[in-house]
Symmetry: C2
Subunit: 203 residues, 2 copies
């Protein structure tokens, strides 16, 4: 991780290094409330150096959130089966990957959804965040065309899917899906209920 010999005065690629270090810290810690100074410390530079690459802390956070959306989309794409048995199967696999991303990257996920003074809205309307949403939309659209998903306004179905998946992710991250409340396989159960609700009963 740390470069070996007598760090040259100029890092060379500190911007990237700061981002990488911050992502590392998000991996380690539970929350995204790291300090810029700590990032600098871990990156092996002085505490003010990051300011040469980011106007302020919020800028770094926004950048990290965007990277989070990119990675989430990649996760979802990777989880999409190439030859799905059914659309319901596909939807389930993608949803599972979504929740897994959240539990694997709790701090990053929280950051992506933390309303930094109402800026969350803007972030979520960015192209890179919409790309994640489009994965869901595309599946629903295809399902409607194929007849396996109810023909309802697709935005509403997307709302249901997003809401349930986001909710389960948050609950999972917070460790609240304890068997006392939701049994032993809450995610399976929730997803199958969702799929029932979205699915066309005629099929």
């Amino acid at each position: 991780m740390q470069d070996a010999p007598s760090r040259p005065y100029h890092h060379g690629d500190l911007r990237r290094a700061v981002i990488e270090t911050a992502l590392d810290m998000l991996r380690d810690e539970k929350g995204w409330q790291f300090t810029l100074r700590e990032v600098a410390r871990r990156a092996g530079v002085s505490h003010a150096a990051p300011y040469k690459h980011f106007p302020d802390k919020a800028a770094l956070l926004a950048e990290l959130a965007m990277i989070g959306f990119d990675r989430l989309r990649e996760s979802l794409s990777a989880a999409k089966p190439t030859a799905p048995k059914s659309l319901r199967d596909e939807l389930t696999k993608v949803a599972r990957a979504y929740v897994a991303f959240g539990t694997d990257n709790p701090a990053l996920y929280r950051l992506m959804y933390s309303a930094e003074e109402g800026q969350a809205v803007g972030i979520h309307l960015d192209e890179r965040a919409l790309a994640v949403f489009d994965v869901l939309l595309e599946i629903l659209r295809r399902g409607q065309d194929a007849g396996s998903i109810r023909k309802r306004p697709i935005e509403g179905q997307a709302a249901a899917g997003w809401g349930l998946i986001h909710g389960m992710t948050m609950l999972a991250i917070d460790g609240l899906l304890v068997s006392e409340k939701v049994g032993s396989a809450p995610l399976d159960a929730a997803l199958s209920t969702l799929v029932e609700g979205l699915g066309n009963p005629a099929t």
Copy 2:
């Protein structure tokens, strides 16, 4: 609220006053990251006075969260129709009240779900939090008995309901339910999808 003339040296009921003041602040601000000093300031006492009634800040936060659960349960009970047209109607009304509670009390709701170093689990297993969950369970149970809700393990159905409702609440609080993504009535759509998923198709 504020006692009138020349505050006596001893407040008399500072514990309650601190809680009330903190609840006021939660109503005003978006987050629950108020400072104890600010609470004391608003309550009109010195910044150290609260420590006579709460060992530390976390204790106050826990107390507030519990009150939140109490109020949420009351809201749900109040929303439960006395003579519901159907169980689906009842479920929808209660769910709507849940989300409304969240959007009406965003900071308090966030506090209730903020994992203060993994203590969220304990809080949510407390009797007063479980009482909220029981409202959902009871409706599902009754629905299963009446045959209008699918006969599936009830914990799984509760997971789906909780997940979707909590998710929609969080999205609503964060202002993310914008029409560009989820259309004009996302909550309606999501709840009807949920009800479809939970409902017994035979009926």
